[in-house]
């Protein structure tokens, strides 16, 4: 279960990443952020973002046009 949820639906690159970063900054290590996005580019971008920043991408899934990412704060 996520500690916080970010609704980034309808936003285009790079806003989902910028808003994700902003949310993560306010969270503590081990907490989980759930991100909802509709930008298809976010599949590749969230992975790259997590690889670079050391935060762990726990899961990604999609339901219709909405992609859901779960990120564990490093």
């Amino acid at each position: 279960m996520a500690d916080q949820t970010l609704d980034a639906k309808g936003l285009n690159c790079p806003l989902p990443i910028l808003k994700t970063k902003k949310m993560l900054k306010g969270m503590t290590s081990g907490q989980v952020l759930e991100v909802l996005a509709t930008d298809p580019g976010s599949i590749a971008d969230m992975t790259a973002f997590c690889n670079q920043t050391g935060n762990e991408l726990l899961s990604q899934s999609n339901e219709g046009d909405v992609y859901t990412f779960e990120i564990k704060v490093a």
């Binding site: 285009n12 690159c13 790079p14 806003l15 910028l18 970063k21 790259a48 670079q52 920043t53």
Partner: protein, 165 residues
């Protein structure tokens, strides 16, 4: 970056263009790099300095943009160089692009610039350009530091990525 360590990756971008369309690549890459924990310096020179005005009024030009196409009713309308001679065409293209930006959930340049400032992107304005075009420091954002080629060079020599846009 407050926790800048020896291992922090660095990037610089030289920003030379001041139209609405060309404002996007440097600000998107700069803010994204900062979000990915890179230490970012953006050096604004020549027309790029227009992007640091407190009041932004950016436009697109069809001139020198022969590949420009605007989506319209499921089709694409091409914007050959020659149409820029027609009065009002650049204004129309600017309005069309601003509408698309809103409709597609793309950030405004104002928002991206604010994000850059918030994420501690170092913003350097070129002193020579200020002199050359008689730009008033007071019309440009306060977060801008003044510098020159050597200022950029010092950062660039320490950086992993240096881009010229």
């Amino acid at each position: 970056m407050l926790d800048a360590s020896e291992n922090t990756k660095k990037m610089t971008i030289i920003v030379t263009k001041g139209t609405l369309d060309w404002a996007y690549p440097p600000f998107i890459l700069g803010t994204t790099a900062a979000a990915m924990d890179l230490d970012v310096t953006m050096f604004f020179t020549f027309y790029g300095l227009q992007l640091l005005k407190k009041d932004l009024d950016l436009k697109v030009s069809t001139l020198g943009n022969p590949a420009m196409e605007m989506p319209m009713g499921g089709m694409h309308m091409s914007m050959p160089n020659i149409v820029s001679m027609v009065p009002g065409v650049d204004r129309m293209a600017t309005t069309m692009m601003k509408n698309l930006i809103k409709k597609k959930g793309v950030a405004s340049i104002e928002d991206l610039r604010e994000a850059a400032v918030e994420s501690d992107v170092k913003i350097i304005g070129c002193q020579m350009t200020l002199d050359l075009f008689e730009l008033d420091r007071k019309d440009l954002i306060e977060e801008m530091e003044i510098g020159g080629a050597a200022t950029w060079m010092e950062e660039a020599a320490k950086s992993d990525i240096n881009l010229y846009i």
